[in-house]
Amino acid sequence: MTLRAGWGQAAGKVGQSLLTLASVIVLVFLLVRLIPGDPVTTILGSETSAEAEAALRTALHLDVPPVQQFFDYIAGLLHGDLGQSAVQRGDSVSGIIAGALPTTLSIVAVGMLLSTIAGISLGLAAALSPYKAIDLTVRTIVMLLYATPTFLIGLLLTLVFSIQLGWLPAGGWAGSYPDNFPFLVLPGIALSGHLGPIIARTVRQAAIESSQQLYMEAALSRGLSKSALNFRHILPNSVLPIITLLGISFGSLLTGAIIVEAVFGLPGIGSEMTKAVARRDYPVIQGIALMSACAVIVGNLLAELIYPLVDPRARSAS
């Protein structure tokens, strides 16, 4: 369990992630090239001039041989250049993403935070009196939430808290902090309607398992109080699986954010994606796809790197 071995493990995981990233880049590059027919006519439609086609072909960088296209694409990526939008002339793809990403990340962050806090609290509350009233109530609520589609949760929240009670805005975006905060609350809650229940169920299961472990019995036999045991032993042991869960869920949270943005009219990645798909703006779709893949890879990598810091057993398992 030396420090050096730990760094070696971490380096291996980073290397693996880079390999995955490389194959994602190749796939994303092929995405545009694999669309049946000519992307240019697909984008512009049949009613168009030869000049417009040629201009778009140059803009999409499709007028050079495919191999050169690939290397130019890679070279661009290394400079942070994802190409130009095919529809919004003059706008770079990276500019579009950079403009929209903070909004989406804010919702995802709020969603993750709410899911984790609510999930752990509900899960523990249920586990500490399993099969009793609290447990049954929590499990019913959690199942209901999990079964309700995100957009429906969003609409219901708007109906109650914006339209009826008038506490929070029904949608929109202030554009700067701290004015943005009120606009984040309802989207964040809506987004956690999926992850929160998963966390609650995982924590409940882990807490019940850990309360049945022999170390709980051994600690009990040493005269330690139940509440001390719950706090010091059950809580840490049942929160461990959440780290992996959050890493894996990062991708589905991004997907969920697209729907939430649509419901609340937020100017994030989701709305850019919807716009780009509607207008067949392939460079933008390509860029967003690449960015989402990166987010998923980074999320998983972070979870894998953090886990050994929290669970000592994972440190020494070679």
Partner: protein, 543 residues
């Protein structure tokens, strides 16, 4: 309230668990400063009895439905949770069996000591007291140990730590539930000695739960034997082990291989008559066979990234009818060697030739595959849980003996009958069988391949002593009847000495001594072998 000489008094105790009366009319005393060992096989009720004394009975849903149990005249049966919190740790402390799972895996040793000390010994300097406790159980480098996590300690160190945690509240009684069962014999000896020394130093009383009669003699002056929830015999340890009154105690002793002449069948208690009987063994036929079935030449195993080889290169020949023992403690490489001999694992050095052909060249459908078969340590885990013994064996018969349909099921029935599985057990799933019955199925399944060599990896170490005797008898009979070669891998010197002609003693992947079993264990040449022999708890042959 009279002050009695007895710290613990249990009278006519009865316990109901899951609708069954698991303890019936059990009475015993533990004198102040004295010790009692509760001995019995699985299901005897010894652990449930310990739970009554540690207040952990309700955790498994058990309920005392008759009799009394008192600690220092205080009623334990009706104690509420507040009273139990005052008792546990301060008066009665538990040393559990499974030391790894009895420690929180994500909390440092120091933390686990600290929380216990601050609860049981408020006002004490936590660090000083922690070091003192670790020192008391003879753990080396206590200061460094505080920073370790449980999985970083060896089994023996963890068990010492469990004892240190139990001592934190300076209890008057320690309940040790099979404290050395999972440990190697050399470590077991040290831990038992520690318990004995601590009794002398602190004057505390000890209730020791054990399945092994031989262990009892090392720590306790009195013993109570339990069977099926009842206490069948109690008395001074020397008397009970040397000259028992009850037929069950006699049977437990007769089942021990070290008390029987080498290679003879072990006595088994007949459940119906209550009498001991020794099965007859057919005379061992040994046609001269110069060519060995298995010839291992320079086989060794080095795992990827490992610092040292798990098995250093060595040679073994196994001829028809031979019985070879491989002895060693955990990590000695004995199981790896066993797996290499069966061809379950290819060695990184040398080759294993089966009738002249290397395992590497033996394909899955080669009849040679069946020639060497394995018996596993965990008899239950080695069986597919949703198939009955008959189906399990029939599948193998269909594969190797070219039978079809009903004939395979009939042949499977015959084979299971031959290994002594009762008819009504043949169509039950493994979950409904005892450990000994599962092991019989495992043996029948191996026999279905018509093997010439059986490699048995700790075939009886998860079985009760009476089941062990039956399985050993079965293996001896099969060897004699079928001229089977046996390779027995075990940590148990008594089993190896009783069952084998030649033994290899392994330590750290190397053979430190090899030779005739009878000689190795009576006059060992090697220091390590000598240490193993002297650490093994044994009962002297009396008759």
């Amino acid at each position: 309230m009279s002050t009695s000489d007895n710290l613990v008094e249990v009278r006519n105790l009865g316990v109901l668990l899951a609708g069954r009366q698991v303890i019936r009319d059990v009475s015993f005393d533990i004198p102040r400063g004295g010790a009692l060992a509760l001995v019995g096989e699985s299901g005897s009720g010894k652990t449930v009895t310990a739970r009554v004394l540690t207040g952990l009975l309700s955790r498994i849903g058990g309920k005392v439905n008759s009799g009394t149990a008192t600690f220092d005249s205080q009623d334990l049966v009706n104690a509420n949770s507040r009273e139990w919190r005052k008792l546990r740790g301060r008066m009665v402390a538990l040393v559990p069996q499974a030391s790894l799972s009895s420690l929180d895996p994500v909390m440092r040793i120091g933390g686990q000591l600290a929380e216990t000390i601050s609860e049981l010994d408020p006002g004490a300097d936590i660090r000083l007291r922690s070091l003192e406790l670790l020192d008391q159980v003879r753990l080396p480098r206590p200061a460094a140990l505080l920073e370790n996590y449980p999985h970083e300690l060896s089994g023996g160190m963890r068990q010492r730590l469990m004892i240190a945690l139990a001592l934190a509240g300076r209890p008057e009684l320690i309940v040790a539930d099979e404290p050395t069962t999972a440990l190697d014999v050399t470590v077991q000896k040290d831990v038992l000695k520690l318990l004995g020394d601590l009794r002398k130093e602190t004057g505390m009383s000890l209730l020791m739960i054990a399945h092994d009669l031989a262990v009892v003699g090392m720590v306790s002056e009195s013993v109570a034997v339990m069977r099926g929830g009842e206490l069948v015999e109690k008395g001074a340890t020397d008397k009970v082990l040397g000259d028992p009154d009850h037929s069950y105690t006699k049977a437990l002793l007769a089942a021990r291989p070290e008390l029987a002449p080498v290679g003879t069948p072990l006595a088994v208690l007949d459940r119906e008559t209550g009498q001991l009987h020794r099965p007859e063994l057919p005379v061992l036929l040994r046609p001269r066979q110069p060519e060995p079935i298995i010839r291992a030449e320079g086989v060794g195993m080095t795992y990827h990234n490992a610092k040292a080889p798990a098995v250093h290169p060595l040679d073994i020949d196994i001829s028809a009818g031979a019985a070879i023992g491989i002895v060693g403690e955990s990590g000695s490489g004995k199981s790896t060697l066993g797996r290499i001999l069966v061809g379950a694992q290819l060695p990184t050095d040398g080759t294993v030739l089966v009738k002249g052909k290397s395992w590497q060249d033996v394909r899955a459908n080669d009849p040679l595959r069946g020639a060497v078969q394995m018996i596993f340590q965990d008899p239950y885990g080695a069986l597919t849980p949703w198939r009955t013994p008959r189906q399990i064996v029939a599948e193998v018969i269909a594969r190797w003996q070219g039978l079809h349909g009903r004939a395979t099921l009939e042949a499977a029935g015959d084979l299971l009958d031959d290994v002594g599985l009762p008819l009504q057990a043949m169509d039950r799933r493994p979950g409904g069988l005892s450990g000994g019955q599962c092991q019989r199925v495992g043996i029948a399944r191996a026999l279905a391949c018509q093997p010439q060599v059986l490699v048995a990896d700790e075939p009886t170490s998860s079985l009760d002593i009476s089941a062990q005797a039956q399985i050993l008898n079965l293996l001896m009979r099969l060897r004699a009847e079928r001229n089977l070669a046996l390779v027995i891998v075990s940590h148990d010197l008594a089993v190896i000495r009783h069952m084998t002609d030649e033994a290899l003693v392994m330590q750290h992947g190397q053979i430190v001594e090899r030779g005739p079993s009878s000689r190795i264990f009576s006059s060992p040449d090697n220091d390590y072998t000598r240490q193993l022999v002297s650490s093994t708890p044994t009962l002297r042959r009396t008759a």
